[in-house]
């Protein structure tokens, strides 16, 4: 006889194999740490002369003790767009789908407080990782992902100390807090018509305190003749998160099959889940040249995405649903260059360019994240007074059109074409 155990196994397989990875762009890192930095491609590691250096190089704060107490607040409006063109065998040649348009607002809030003319303590809140994806209800990748939201909040404290007139270091600690919500459908073969049928919708959602500690450090050396050199490091961290999973039954039209599924899936209420996510470290070195009017800066960095090798999702009370998904990401290098012109005491202008290699193998590309090596062009301006500065920058992130090459581990092959306009805005107050 066909036992319920076999049904349970198949249902479990339908859950596990489709548990998605928590992955978004450039991996899923965000570099939106301030509008001035955003206007010059984030090339602040060797510059470090405003509060956004708290993300790029904490040592830079040591050279800002004469600015008094500073407060920067801002956001970046991100409107990711993505079009998917399918190929056979699934979802088929000619199939296309557009990601639902969404707008995200990662924040940055920085406070710098000079202790004396060599030491500054600072506090920061920003989003170093995040973003989300959503597809229409009729999307054929619905068994992989329908909607996903992930956001990491970094609450940091750091100190920067000027060892000499030309050399400073900074160190900081980061409290990382994560929220995750993933929704998708579960598909099974309906034995009565041998057709793939949607039998449930499931949502995995974080709850409680899903957090971890990390640290960062940097040095900044003003070498003379306008040149400066900086290096910084932000550590990796691991979120061992708790959450819950809910399953909502989708009737197939066959009461017998639906009834049997009701004995297998926990349709009423929620069940606990546990997940472990490794986030990468990030190191940078930069070189800059400045005079009274110009700043020219470049930097090279690597995100250590090779820590993201797998994603275990554990159902403590439903171990048959537990899974470990292979990711096998690689470290990802990036190049950035930026130029700033200080036209007069109020206005300054800047442009930048960056290239950021994808860490994601083609096999892992999915509707949740189809990452690609990206180029971005940006330009911005600032208006400043003695106690106030407003920065704004526009950035066009243009990932390469990338195909899964028939290698999708989800069996969802095709070409992803994405772009994201970003609008950075920051206000800085000096007290």
């Amino acid at each position: 006889m066909i036992t319920l155990n076999r049904m349970r196994f198949l249902a479990a397989a339908a859950v596990l194999i489709s548990v998605p990875s928590l992955t978004w762009g450039s991996g899923f890192a965000l570099f939106e740490a301030g509008a001035r930095a955003g206007g010059m491609a984030g090339t602040m590691v060797a510059v470090g002369d405003d509060l956004s250096t708290l993300f790029w190089n904490p040592a830079g704060m040591a050279f800002q003790t004469n600015e008094g107490v500073q407060l920067m607040i801002g956001t970046t409006l991100i409107q990711p767009r993505q079009t998917f063109s399918g190929s056979s065998p699934y979802p088929g040649q000619g199939y296309t789908a557009d990601q639902v348009e969404q707008t995200f607002f990662p924040v940055h809030l920085y406070l710098g407080i000079p202790v004396n003319d060599r030491l500054e303590v600072s506090f920061a809140l920003h989003n170093p990782f995040g973003l989300g994806t959503e597809w229409d209800d009729d999307f054929l990748g619905n068994y992989i992902s329908k909607k996903a939201d992930l956001m990491v909040f970094d609450l940091g404290a750091s100190m920067a100390y000027q060892l000499s007139e030309n050399f400073a270091f900074g160190i900081g600690v980061d409290y990382m807090y994560t929220t995750i919500e993933l929704t998708r459908d579960i598909g099974l073969i309906n034995p009565f018509n041998q057709q793939l049928s949607t039998v449930a919708e499931t949502t995995l959602k974080s709850d409680g305190i899903n957090s971890a500690w990390a640290w960062n450090a940097g040095i900044l050396w003003k070498m003379g003749a306008g040149f400066s050199f900086g290096a910084s490091y932000r550590s990796e961290f691991t979120i061992n998160g708790d959450g819950n999973a809910s399953f909502t039954q989708v009737p197939t039209g066959n009461p017998e099959f639906d009834g049997l599924l009701g004995t297998i899936f926990p349709f009423n209420g929620t069940v606990p889940i546990e997940a472990t996510i490794n986030f990468p470290d990030f190191w940078n070195v930069g070189l800059a040249w400045q005079n009274e009017k110009w700043t020219i800066s470049g930097q090279y960095g690597v995100m250590g995405w090779s820590v993201y090798q797998d994603l275990p999702i554990i159902f403590p009370e439903n171990p048959e649903f537990s899974s470990v998904r292979e990711e096998n990401w690689d470290d990802a290098p990036q190049w950035r260059v930026g130029v700033e012109l200080r036209a007069n005491e109020h206005w300054s202008f800047r442009v930048g360019y960056l290239e950021d290699e994808t860490p994601q193998p083609a096999a892992g590309m999915s509707p949740l994240l189809a990452d690609a090596t990206r180029q971005a062009y940006m330009g911005g301006l600032s208006y400043s007074t003695a106690r106030f500065r407003f920065d704004i920058a526009y950035e066009d992130v243009d990932p390469e059109v990338r195909s899964t090459g028939g290698q999708s581990s989800d069996g969802f092959n095709g070409v992803y074409d994405a772009d994201s306009p970003l609008l950075h805005m920051s206000l800085t107050f000096k007290f």
């Binding site: 006889m1 066909i2 036992t3 076999r6 049904m7 196994f9 198949l10 397989a13 339908a14 194999i17 489709s18 399918g86 190929s87 056979s88 065998p89 699934y90 979802p91 088929g92 040649q93 199939y95 054929l140 990748g141 619905n142 068994y143 992989i144 998708r184 598909g187 099974l188 073969i189 034995p191 009565f192 018509n193 041998q194 057709q195 793939l196 017998e256 099959f257 009834g259 049997l260 581990s409 989800d410 069996g411 969802f412």
Partner: protein
């Protein structure tokens, strides 16, 4: 200047020549058994024939014609349906009245010459006459449906068509009987390896010699891995007793034993249970009643037989410059989980009823399984011959509903996984050679005399 002109002409010439290595689907012929015919859920029926792997392959490759011996609903024999799922799945034929041929007047041999129930010997030597069927004689029904003229065998008709491309997937029924009867006896339920190897080599040699077709051979999966053999556990949970290992007439079963779907009906009657009669382990050679248990040594013997057949297939492929598609690896990869077909996050398995690959008979694929096979074969042909055949759109396949026949009432429910009628229908596919052993025991090594005909002559007309 002359050199440049010559080089230009050469480039133009090469560019305009067809890629000689590519498979030409102008006249594609599929030789084989039920798996080639598109047999599913115990039946040969038009809905599934249109979804057979050769039909899908021909369609994807743009073959101008691919004719099949269509049978109207509910097929021959009447197709199985799932009558109930819980507490015990019940599978039975939809009725007793079979479908009828709808393409018997086609004046040439069919492109799909897959004959359900045919083994290698049958493909070479067996004929069929449509008049038998029209007169109500169903004894040789599948051969009568496919071959029709009463004169030419499947191999002869294939050669007569002078195909440009041939697939050969034969040999499954040379070993399937061992699983259906729960008994592995070479010469009775399995064709001896030396006979198989000799016949197979001669068959491919005949195709190679008498046609100019590209030939793709398809090797054999292990029949011990099909749901018919892997679905039932060797034990049952009995309230108040706990896990009870079934008892066969050769002793208590263990976890290493396979219990075939044939046992479902018997277990429901108390066979193998406390106080009940034992399950028949092996084929009763006097009554023909099948055994329902495969012991580990039998499983090993069946798999070794398949390995030996596959070695013969590989040897024939090498000897006659024919490619061999590894269906054994494809299916074993699905069973083991090493190569699971996954589409849009949904993985198909070899599990019965819910896995998506197999039909209700537990032996043959359903349309999704045939499409997976065709898609893998397309990839193989593209890689092997440089074709650019588009892959199968599995989204269309997965979301397509199964065959439905309004007005056909469900068969009477039975308290078993598979009804006795359904089982008997299946057992006819590869009956043990109890009364006709000489036919396969020592066949003449010579092929039919008219097989070495002029390869350029016109195809035979079918009356």
């Amino acid at each position: 200047m002359k050199k440049t002109l010559f080089a230009t002409c050469l480039v133009v010439l090469l560019a305009t020549l067809p890629a000689a290595a590519q498979v030409d689907f102008t006249n594609y012929v599929a030789l084989g058994d039920s798996l080639t015919a598109g047999f599913a859920s115990g039946s040969l029926m038009n809905w599934y024939q249109d979804r057979s792997f050769p039909a899908v392959l021909a369609q994807q490759a743009g073959a101008p014609v691919f004719e099949q011996p269509y049978i109207s609903e509910p097929g021959v024999g009447p197709i199985f349906e799932l009558v109930a799922l819980a507490p015990t799945p019940i599978i039975a034929p939809v009725g007793l009245i079979p479908g009828q041929p709808t393409n018997a007047e086609y004046p040439y041999p069919y492109n799909n010459l897959g004959i359900p129930g045919a083994d290698l010997y049958d493909m070479i030597f067996q004929t069929g006459d449509i008049n038998n069927l029209l007169q109500g004689n169903f004894e040789n029904v599948m051969f009568d449906i496919v071959l029709r003229n009463g004169i030419n065998t499947a191999l002869e008709q294939a050669i007569g068509l002078q195909p440009t491309f041939v697939t050969v997937w034969i040999g499954n029924n040379d070993v399937l009987g061992a699983v259906l009867s729960g008994t592995a006896i070479e010469g009775v339920t399995m064709t001896p390896v030396d006979i198989f190897a000799g016949l197979y080599s001669n068959t491919i040699g005949a195709l190679y010699t008498n046609t100019s077709a590209d030939i793709v051979l398809i090797n054999l999966p292990y029949p011990t891995e099909i749901p018919f053999a892997t679905t039932l556990d060797p034990w049952v949970d009995i309230p108040g007793v706990g896990r009870w290992y079934l008892v066969a007439d050769t002793g208590v079963l263990t976890d290493a034993d396979l219990v075939t779907l044939s046992a479902g009906d018997l277990i429901a009657q108390g066979y193998g249970l406390p106080g009940g009669p034992p399950l028949p382990d092996n084929l009763n050679i006097f009554t023909g009643e099948p055994g329902v248990v495969l012991r580990p040594d039998e499983v090993a013997a069946i798999n070794a037989q398949v390995d030996a057949y596959n070695a013969a297939i590989a040897q024939a492929g090498a000897g006659f410059f024919s490619s061999v598609f590894d269906a054994n690896a494809l299916f074993s990869g699905i069973v083991s989980g090493q190569n699971v077909p996954t589409y849009g996050g949904v993985s198909l398995t070899a599990d019965f009823l819910l896995g998506g690959i197999f039909s209700y008979d537990g032996i043959h694929p359903q349309r999704i399984g045939y499409a997976v096979l065709a898609d893998n074969l397309i990839q193989f042909i593209n890689a092997e011959y440089g074709n650019t055949i588009p892959r199968v759109n599995m989204a269309e396949v997965l979301f397509e509903g199964d065959w439905q026949t309004p007005g056909v009432s469900p068969a009477k429910a039975r308290e078993t996984v598979m009804s006795r009628e359904a089982l008997q229908q299946l057992l006819q596919l590869a009956p043990p050679k109890l009364d006709q052993a000489p036919r396969i025991r020592r066949p003449s090594p010579a092929l039919p005399g008219d097989i070495s005909r002029d390869p350029r002559r016109k195809p035979d007309m079918i009356p």
